[in-house]
């Protein structure tokens, strides 16, 4: 298949043409010859490398009522992602080579986006014994990111061992930083508002204390550390200090922590219940600054689908988490690009190159997060920054509807997504996936 993309602004720069052939970017330049190619007029569109999500809950196996690998990767493709890291808190937990290979293979067969399984750090996410990290790394899934996400690896010794152990195969521990004792029964950010609403508080210090500890542990053993979804000003400051000291610490922030604040909780609408919780406007400002100056390396969605009944209930009984894949780029444009904090090259870095480096999926046969250059895999997304839409949860291809942006007007739209040269999204709509057309 040959595709000629005409007049796209590469990472927001001057318009040029891209020729995609046999899964790679064959040529870049102006006035390319489109003989035999499907021609796409990309005037006014920005071309970005296919986005890479470090933090996706695909729910399969176990909760196929909330999301499946098929529905989740469709949502990913529509959001401009060509690779997602599937979190391990499934049922069964992704803590063995068997489970991660199954998830990886299903992703390959469905073909809308590459699925990179995240392996559990501990058996059953129980925080007691290390899972067989090496077996998962050596499996066909080639796991490099390990996380007990949903839970914190709270035991300092276990965390130290995990950090050390994964050095053998270039892995990284992605920590869900939440001191468990400080957050027993926690429901929302601990603040004046939580006091007024009578909801148990989730104090910032519960996140910051774990990050500070883990930064020191990583320094001590000389390991890479990745911090999931950091949400507070204090966390940004700790990571900034760690980077100033040259420590190999990376961090991600979610789109919702870039935009939403705890005030939304006031009506007890459980769509706004998420872990870590929505924080204050000051924290939002701090994570935006952190993302702009590179303290925070990546945006990761923490896409967390839940069935209606798990949200349409009492706040205490509701599940934590919100959808994110289909809205992430729009939220980043709204909070970072349209505010002048980040240009499109910066977006490419925070949503593709950096997560690709952290997840070690930027090399090998199915390399992601590669530069837009001749000879590189043709993972490309075309974005229309001038578009805008009012978010309608019912329009989502996710199986779930826990969308916190309902009714909000957000800028930007993904016009096309190419996975290794094949358009999985065209004119803002899903196409038949590559595998269904016999393309691999």
């Amino acid at each position: 298949m040959i595709v000629l993309i005409k007049g796209a602004r590469l990472l927001g720069a001057e318009p040029t043409d891209l020729l995609l052939r046999d899964g790679v970017i064959a040529e870049i330049g102006s006035g390319l010859d489109g003989t035999g190619a499907t021609v796409i007029d990309a005037g006014g569109l920005v071309a970005l490398p296919g986005l890479v999500d470090l933090h996706t809950h695909l729910r399969e196996p176990g909760r196929e009522d909330a999301e499946t690998i098929a529905s989740g990767t469709r949502a990913a493709a529509l959001g401009g992602f060509t690779a997602v890291h599937a979190m391990a808190n499934t049922d069964p937990v992704a803590d063995t080579a068997g489970v991660v290979e199954q998830v990886w293979r299903l992703g390959r067969e469905i073909g809308y986006a590459d699925v990179r399984p995240v392996g559990a750090v501990t058996v059953g996410l129980d925080g007691q014994r290390l899972a067989e990290l090496g077996a998962m790394a050596d499996s066909a899934a080639g796991v490099r990111v390990f996380s007990d996400d949903g839970r914190c690896v709270a035991d300092a010794l276990l965390m130290r061992r995990a950090l050390e152990y994964v050095k053998a195969f270039g892995g990284v521990i992605a920590q869900h930083a939440q001191e468990p004792r400080l957050t027993e029964g926690a429901q929302m950010n601990e603040s004046e508002l939580s006091g007024r609403l009578g909801l148990r508080g989730w104090p910032r210090v519960a996140e910051e204390a774990i990050i500070a500890r883990d930064v020191m542990l990583a320094a001590h053993v000389g390991s890479r550390l990745h911090i999931c979804h950091l949400s507070t000003r204090g966390s940004v400051e700790i990571v900034r200090l760690a980077k100033q000291r040259g420590l190999p610490v990376t961090a991600e922030v979610t789109p919702h922590h870039l935009l939403l604040t705890e005030d939304l909780v006031a009506g007890y609408d459980a769509r706004y219940k998420v872990n870590p919780p929505l924080r204050s406007a000051d924290d939002v400002a701090a994570v935006r600054e952190g993302l702009a100056d590179g303290t925070i390396d990546a945006v990761a969605t923490d896409h967390a689908p839940h069935p209606v009944e798990d949200k349409e209930c009492e706040w205490d009984a509701a599940a934590f988490g919100m959808l994110g894949l289909e809205t992430a780029l729009s939220v980043v444009q709204h909070t970072m690009v349209d505010t002048g904090l980040l240009d499109w090259a910066g977006v490419a870095d925070r949503m593709s190159f950096a997560p690709g480096r952290i997840g070690k999926c930027d090399g090998g046969d199915f390399a992601q997060a590669r530069p837009l250059a001749a000879g590189e895999p043709a993972n490309v997304v075309l974005v229309d920054p001038s578009a805008s839409r009012t978010v309608d949860p019912a329009a989502s291809v996710s199986l779930s509807r826990n969308n916190p942006y309902e009714g909000r007007k957000l800028p930007g739209s993904v016009v096309a997504t190419f996975l290794r040269g094949f358009p999985v999204v065209e004119n803002g709509e899903l196409t038949q996936s590559s595998i269904q057309k016999g393309m691999r």
Partner: protein, 317 residues
């Protein structure tokens, strides 16, 4: 005049005063009568939806509704709430189908009455009878009613509230209502039992009970659950009573016309000694009686005149 009563902080001073005045009228109309019933809410249905046991609150609402001649349905959904099973939504749809005009809801989850009121599942008026650690507005109203009865206008009066403010819905509701009514409120508790941001509440905060008592017109002692001890909120029940309990000695420091309140149920010997609880100036039993009048007033103001042909000729308020 009131669509829902979810939080006492939603009440303006005028609304709160109207409720208290109406409650006084209810007391006047029913107290001397042999038949303590007013026909005001005949044909209206009030549902007591209790996801959490509280016989005293449920009975009080039941009595209030019956005295206004409403039909009362007690719907106990205990154990089916936060655990899976019959959901809040299904329950609400059931009650809507039954034609409930008002739903009095008690729930262990903060905000559950808000879900009921805002969801569109049911059209009824919603009355919060205590939700988690959030609010219990009719308790605050009955406390204010009781205080007003003894002290007159609460404007400028000093009220001291002592105990578990962090987990206590009564404290939250009382602080905001009393402040709305112009009283000066001091909450007293160990720092561990005060919520973050309490300094922004419309009250003063103290860790020292002895310092707070002089000049108080009323002292409200809140129930402190002994289990809190295990979560390290305080070292022992004895230490708690020593520092924050109301005993005869502390009671003696109050002015002669000051009154003592407790929303019940009491831990005698913990936050309050038996001598104080049973003393002349303790109005704890009165609070129970007043609870019925206040709840009558709220139900009346919510339901009467809001529908068809329910204007009671008794003309309360």
């Amino acid at each position: 005049m009131i669509r829902h009563l979810l939080s006492s902080s939603d009440l303006t001073r005028e609304q709160a005063t109207t409720i208290l005045d109406t409650a006084e009228e209810m007391a006047r109309l029913t107290e001397g009568r042999s038949v303590k019933k007013l026909p005001t809410l005949r044909g209206r249905t009030v549902v007591n939806l209790f996801f959490e046991d509280s016989t005293r609150t449920r009975t009080s609402f039941e009595l209030a509704a019956k005295r206004l001649s409403a039909d009362v349905i007690n719907f106990s959904a205990k154990g089916s709430s936060v655990s899976k099973g019959e959901s809040l939504k299904d329950t609400a749809l059931t009650l809507a189908a039954m034609g409930a005009d008002a739903v009095v809801v008690r729930h262990s989850a903060s905000g559950a009455p808000y879900r009921l009121a805002d969801s569109g599942w049911i059209d009824a008026n919603v009355l919060n009878a205590g939700d988690g650690t959030h609010e219990h507005p009719t308790q605050a109203l009955l406390d204010a009613f009781t205080m007003r009865h003894h002290l007159g206008d609460l404007d400028g009066r000093h009220i001291v509230i002592v105990g578990d403010v962090l987990h206590g819905r009564v404290a939250r509701s009382n602080v905001s209502l009393l402040a709305t009514l112009g009283a000066r409120v001091t909450v007293v508790a160990p720092p561990t039992l005060l919520p973050l941001g309490v300094e922004h509440w419309p009250c003063e905060v103290s860790y020292d009970l002895d310092a707070a008592l002089p000049g108080a017109s009323a002292v409200m002692m809140l129930r402190v659950q002994q289990e809190r001890m295990n979560a390290a909120f305080f070292p022992s029940a004895r230490e708690y009573s020593r520092r924050y309990g109301l005993d005869t000695q502390r009671f003696g420091r109050l002015s002669d016309d000051a009154i003592v309140l407790h929303p019940g149920p009491m831990n005698r010997g913990m936050e309050i000694t038996a001598e104080v609880a049973d003393s002349e100036r303790s109005v704890i039993v009165e609070q129970v009686t007043n609870g019925v009048y206040v709840r009558m007033a709220v139900l009346y103001l919510m339901l009467a005149g809001a529908g068809d042909g329910t204007t009671g000729q008794e003309g309360a308020a």
